[in-house]
C-alpha cells in the first residue's frame, strides 16, 4: 500500500521544521509524529519522509534503527515497557517482567495475539526514585507491585486508562 503524508501532517511538519535553521533537524520529531499516528515507523513512511525532507533514505533508516523508541513493526495498543536497570532491578524488576510474561503469555519484544499488549524490557527510564517503573505507551507508573500490576492490566483490558500521577 502506498504511503502518503497527509496534508494535515505536512502542516504540522512545516511548523516543526520552522523551529530549525535546517529542515533536516526536524527528522526525529517528525518520525515521532509519524509513529504517534501509526504506532510504528513503516518502511514506506521512512521513504515518504526522506522524500519530504530531501534526505537520503539511508540516513532516515539509520536514525530509525539507532534510536530505541522507534518501533519498526506495529506495537500493541498498550506498549508495556519495564525498566530493568540497576535501581529498578533492586526493586524487583525481574519479578515484574516475569509476572508480565506469565500473565500475557508473551516474551519480551512480542505482542499478544489480540494486539492489546506489547512487552519490552527497557533501560533506565530516569525515574529511579519510583522504582520499579513501568511505562505504558508514554505514561510512567512507579512503585509497581504485583497487586498494582494486576489492577493495571485489568483496567487496560477493559479500556480503562488509569491516571498516572
Amino acid at each position: 500500500m502506498a504511503f502518503t503524508l497527509t496534508d494535515e501532517f505536512k502542516q504540522r511538519a512545516e511548523k516543526i521544521c520552522a523551529r530549525y535553521p535546517r529542515r533536516d533537524a526536524a527528522l526525529i520529531p517528525l518520525l515521532l509524529e509519524l509513529q504517534r499516528e501509526a504506532g510504528y515507523v513503516a518502511e514506506e513512511a521512512m521513504d515518504a519522509l526522506s522524500g519530504y525532507l530531501g534526505l537520503p533514505y539511508s540516513r532516515v533508516k539509520a536514525v530509525v534503527t539507532f534510536y530505541t523508541m522507534f518501533n519498526r513493526v506495529p506495537a500493541g495498543k498498550y506498549h508495556l515497557q519495564v525498566c530493568r536497570n540497576i535501581s529498578c532491578h533492586m526493586a524487583g524488576a525481574p519479578g515484574l517482567l516475569a509476572a508480565l510474561r506469565a500473565r500475557l503469555g508473551i516474551e519480551e519484544g512480542e505482542t499478544t495475539k489480540d494486539g492489546l499488549f506489547t512487552l519490552s524490557a527497557v533501560e533506565c527510564l530516569g525515574a529511579c526514585g519510583d522504582a520499579p517503573v513501568l511505562q505504558v505507551n508514554e505514561d510512567y507508573f512507579g512503585r509497581v507491585t504485583a497487586e498494582k500490576l494486576d489492577v493495571l492490566l485489568e483496567d487496560l483490558k477493559h479500556g480503562k486508562y488509569p491516571s498516572t500521577r
Binding site: 537520503p56 533514505y57 539511508s58 540516513r59 533508516k61 539509520a62 534503527t65 539507532f66
Partner: protein, 491 residues
Amino acid sequence: MPKITIDGKTAEVAKGTTVLQAAQALGIVIPRYCYHPSLSISGNCRMCLVEVEKSPKLLTACSTEAADGMVVRTDSDKVKAARRDVLEYLLINHPLDCPICDQAGECGLQDYYMEHSRAKSRFPQEDKVRRQKRRALGPHLVLDNERCILCTRCVRFCSEVTKTSELEVMERGDHSYIDLKQGKALDNGYTLNLADICPVGAWTSRDFRFKQRVWFLKRTPTVCLGCATGCLMEAHHNDGVLYRLVPRPNAETNTWLCDHGRMTYKAVRAGDRLAKGVIKNGLIELEPALREAAGRIDENHPAAAVLGSPWLSVEDNAALARLAKDAIKTENFCFDFPGAQGVKDGILINEDPAPNARGARLVKDAYGGIALEELRARIVDGRVKTVVTEARAAAFVRDAVKASGARLIVFATNRADIPPAAYATLPYACYFEVPGTFVNFQGLRRRAEPSVAAPEGVRPLWALVNRLAAYSGASLHLDSAADALKEIVFK
C-alpha cells in the same frame, strides 16, 4: 609553520597538517583503518592513537593537528599497548575465515596483527557476534557484514565522493552493520573503489573473488583507456592473465577508478577476442586477410582514405598517418576528432568515451590531413571508395559509408566492435599487450604498459600497418612503436 617532533625526528609542516600526515612525511607509518587521505576524518577505529606530550590521554593522529613545539611518540609502550588492545577488540567478533577470504594477503587486520599484536585471543569463539554473511550488493560487489570493522570508509565514500549516500551504519553498538535500502543495488558507477578502500574483507569484488590469491599477482603501472580522463592505474596479473585493475592515486587526475574503467580489461580475454582476420563474416588467417585488405586498397589509391582513431595510441595513429602519406600516398586522411572533453560527472567519467583524441591531434599537427566533415563529404560523393580505420572510429563515418556503400577496412580487437558494414577486419594487440602513448583530456602524456602477451599471432597495429604498406609495395621502416613517434612533437 608549526615544528613538530615525532619519535625524535623534527619536521616543519604546513598549518593544518595532522600528526598522521606529518609522521608520514617523516617516514613514520602510523597504523590506521578509518583514516583515508581522500575522505573526511572519522576518528572511529582508534588504531592511530599516539602519545602527545602534555596530553594525559592518547590522541588520534588522524585528527590531531600538528602544533608548534608538539612532541609525539608513536613507539612508546603506552601506544603499543593501545594498538594491541584495539586489535584485540577488532578481532573478537571477526570471523576466522581468512582461508576463504579474498582479502587475505592485503588485509589490514592480518597485517597489523602480525606487526603490532601476535597475541592469542582471550575471546571464546562461540561468543562472537554473528552478522549477515556474503550477499551481492549491486553488479560489482559482495558485502560480508561479519567481516566489517565499521570504519565507515565506504559510507563516507558514497556520501562524499559519489554523493549518492546509499550506505549507512544501521543499528548501534556491536550489532551495527553497513546496509542500504532493501532491494536496492549498489550501482553508482564507482562501487569497486569500496573493495579497494575497505581495509578488511567486508567489501570484495564479484569479478575478482576467488580468482587469484593476491600474493601471486604482479603489478604493472599503466593508464586506463576507458575514456579521455586517462586515469593512472595498475594492472594486476599473473601467468599472462589479467585479474583486476586498481587506481594509482595521483594529484593530477585520479584517486579512484570508475567501474567502467575497471572492467576494460575484460575485453582482453573475452570470447569474441579476435586472433584472426575477418573478411565479410568469415574468419581467415592474418596474412591472407592483410593481403586481401592491401589488394582492395591498391585497387584505387586516390580513392582510399585513412581515418585515425581516438581509441588508438599516438604510435598507432602515427603509423596510420604514414600509411596514408607514404604508402597509399593519398590526401584522404583524417586525425581530427573534436568532441567534447571534460569530466562529466564531477568525479572521473569523461564526456569523451575515447582515450586519445588529444593524442590523435598531435598526429594531425605532424602530418596534417583533412577535417572529419571533409572526409565524410568525400565518402558520400564517391571520391573515397575505401576507408581504413579502427573499428570504433568507424562510427565517425558510419552514415557516410552507409550512404555511399564505401568499403570499410578496420582494425579491431574484439568482434563486438566490428561495424556491420566492415568488409575486412584485421586483429591487433590491445594496450594491455603492447605499449602505447596517450594524451588525456588535460593534455598529460600517459603511457600504457603491457602486462600480458597478446594472443598467438596477434600483432601491434603499427606492425600490421607496416605489412599493409609492404603489400602495397612501400616500406615504412617501422620496427618498433617508438619508430612511429619520430615526427611527433609532444607539447
